[in-house]
Structures are given as structure tokens and as C-alpha cells.
Symmetry: C2
Subunit: 228 residues, 2 copies
């Protein structure tokens, strides 16, 4: 595919907005999703499938990345570790950090891109709101792009259009590009409705509040949530 | 583990020599192996297990990397594509090339290293004999190391001690470090004995010939092979 882009899509808001930005630039979308026994695997997968329809993707690639749970050490896959609540003000890297996850995802995205002869990868990494994850920075994206260009025979460019946006700006982009946000899931907990207190929920809530917008996800997943 | 090294080990000769070099430097070995539905998966896995005993490894991590077969495009996992025979003189990248395989392996090795708090990764990449794979070069190793250092919270160094060795020099290292080469498998074909004509067999044969040594693998796997 000559003008195709591999879009890493979790089923969350950020990666959905990122994929719609790619679509708006005229790319055919190769949607790349990772299942890794994360707590919310089924919900994220359902959202991914809905978004693929919304985006009319050219190709879907769903990768079994169970090795991430096998490597362990994070609360997204290890249910014996608690999900941090109301902890956004803490300075340390939270236990939801999956070691080098974006590095692994981008490497597999590069392999898919090379196979499909795509020259572009889109990933919805956000630096400011990333809870201090070291693989969510401009520095890392720049350096892994240089490495991927060296290690593949295609000239591949990584696009991270959300890297320097705040969550409020991402919500604004979602509205601008008509992203069906009711088809996204951000909460770290596997519950009927978003928990509202994990880092991911707090960031999303703050984003909608600052953008003066209403999050449709709470309509989709049984009504309303206190504090919005 | 404070003085541990993650060693990527396929079950082949190069990565075995590399792991024994790490051992000789005093590292505790975290042995990392990838199953990816490659034709010779079972043979490589058996060799890996034997080598782990030989090395008295501190930890074994076997990763299901079936996604490599799923991404496809290479003759190691796609049995509808022929393995090239007697083709070492050809200039183009052979179809045994797995897109960005070392990039993917090193990214997962970095995730394991970070989880285990190891600061070193050993990989048996060989530039000269790599049939032109772009992810087998000093340039790539340098750049992926820079990227991994940016994207992890550990200071991780990648060691590729075979990078600039010829196959003959690797055989000499194997003899020096008493690597049990009868516990390694290099052939791309899944047969009782090495085929002797795939790129990997040809390189290994050439290495033993130039090192004036006898390859014990042909004793292990039913006797002898013509041309040695």
C-alpha cells in the first residue's frame, strides 16, 4: 500500500483521535491493535473494532502480545497489584507503567509497516499527561525513529501528533475530527462504567472539563458519573 | 538481579557463543528465547533448553512471538516460500529476512531487562555474514541502544560481541569458551540433519572450514554430511 499508515490503536481516546488525524491527511489506515491480557482487554478490543468500522480501515492487524503480561511488573496485567487512585499529583512512575511498552509496540508497528510497504506510523503518545512514562517523550520518539530507519529497508516516519497536546486539546481535536468518542475506553479498571479515579479516568475527566465538553462515554456505559 | 544480563538465545551457534561470552564476563544469565512458528521451532527450542543447562542460567524467559509468523513475508515462517539454496553470492536481501526482527527482539529484551533491573543485553548479531539484513549492523545496534536508553528508566547497554567477527572467528570463540556446539542448530530447514545448502548452513560450514575445525553438530544429528 503506497499511501498507507500503520496506526497503533488501543481502543482508547488518544489513539482514536490520532487515527482520525491520519485519516484526515488522506492515509489508508492499517489498524494495529495489541491484546496483552490487560484488565480491560475485551472492552478495548470492542472499541477498536467499532473504530475500525468508523474509519473504514484498509486492514486490521490484531497482535497477541501476551508476553507483556508474562514479563509482568505492572498493574494493568497483574491483578494482584492495585490500580492507583487519585494519584496524579504523585511524582514517581505509577505501577500501571508497562516496561518499554511503546518501544515494543513501535517495533512491531515497524515490522508491519515494512511488510506492507507503508512509510508512516501513527501513535497517540502524549508526553504531558503520561504520568512520567519514559517512553512517552519527544526524545524517545525521535530516537526510536532514527533506530527504525536504520534497521529497516523502508524509509519509515513515526508521527505522534498528540505528543505535545494537553488532554483538553485532544478533546478539542476529537470534536474537530468528529471522532466517535462513545466508541473509546480509557479506564484502567474492568468495570461496567469508568471508575473515575484511576490516572486515566482523571486525565480524561480533566480534559473534558477544561474543554467545556461532555464525555459521551458516560452515556454509552450506563448513564452518568459523579464529578462530571 | 544486579549483575545480570539478558541474553537473546535462539538455539543457534552465534547466540550460544554470545551467551558464553557473557557468562565468561561474570554475568548471571537471563536467557530470552522466542518461539515464532519458525520451521525449526522445536529443534531450536530443544537446543535452547540444553544450552540453558550448560550455562546454568539464573532465569529462562520463553516468549510466544507468533505475531512474527502472523505478520509474515518471510520464508522462515511461511512454508509456501522456498528457502534459498546456494545463494550466498546474491546481492539482494533473501526471503528468510524477518522484517525488523532484531528490533522487535531487542525491544522485548529491553522490557525484560527493565523488569529484572538488569543493565545489560547480549545479542549474537553478526554484520558481515548477515546476508544484508539491515537490522544486523553496528549502525542499527548503536541507534537502538540510544533509543532504549531514552525509553527506559534503567541504563541499559546492548552488547553485540560477534558483530564484527567472521563465522570462522565465531567458531574459534566457540572453541575458546568451550561452547557445546552439538547443542546448537543453525539450519533453516526442519529436517533430521542440517540441509547444508541454505544460507545459514553454508555460512556455518564455511566458518568451520576456515577455522580448520570439525562441526560436532553432524555427529549429534545422525552422522556426517557431504562437503565437510
Amino acid at each position: 500500500m503506497s499511501h498507507a499508515a500503520v496506526c497503533v490503536m488501543s481502543g482508547g481516546m488518544d489513539s482514536a483521535v490520532c487515527a482520525f488525524i491520519a485519516k484526515s491527511k488522506g492515509y489508508e489506515i492499517i489498524a494495529l491493535h495489541f491484546d496483552y491480557q490487560q484488565r480491560t482487554m475485551e472492552k478495548e478490543r470492542q472499541c477498536f473494532e467499532k473504530l475500525c468500522k468508523d474509519l473504514q480501515v484498509a486492514k486490521k492487524v490484531v497482535i497477541n502480545a501476551d508476553f507483556i503480561a508474562q514479563i509482568g511488573g505492572n498493574s494493568l496485567t497483574d491483578t494482584s497489584l492495585p490500580i492507583r487512585e487519585n494519584g496524579l499529583h504523585h511524582q514517581e512512575i505509577p505501577n500501571s507503567y508497562v516496561p518499554y511498552r511503546n518501544g515494543v509496540f513501535l517495533s512491531i508497528a515497524a515490522a508491519v509497516a515494512q511488510k506492507e510497504q507503508a512509510h508512516d506510523i501513527f501513535i497517540g503518545v502524549v508526553q504531558e499527561d503520561s504520568s512520567g512514562y519514559p517512553d512517552c517523550t519527544q526524545d524517545f520518539i525521535d530516537k526510536i525513529n532514527v533506530a527504525i530507519q536504520s534497521g529497516t529497508s523502508e524509509k519509515i516516519t513515526i508521527h505522534a501528533p498528540l505528543l505535545h497536546l494537553t488532554k483538553a486539546e485532544i478533546v478539542q481535536q476529537a470534536i474537530r475530527f468528529r471522532v466517535p468518542l462513545e466508541h473509546t475506553w480509557s479506564c484502567y479498571q474492568n468495570q461496567q462504567t469508568p471508575c473515575g479515579v484511576c490516572d486515566s479516568c482523571l486525565l480524561r475527566k480533566k480534559g473534558f472539563q477544561l474543554a467545556c465538553a461532555t464525555d459521551p462515554i458516560y452515556g454509552e456505559f450506563s448513564g452518568s458519573l459523579k464529578g462530571l
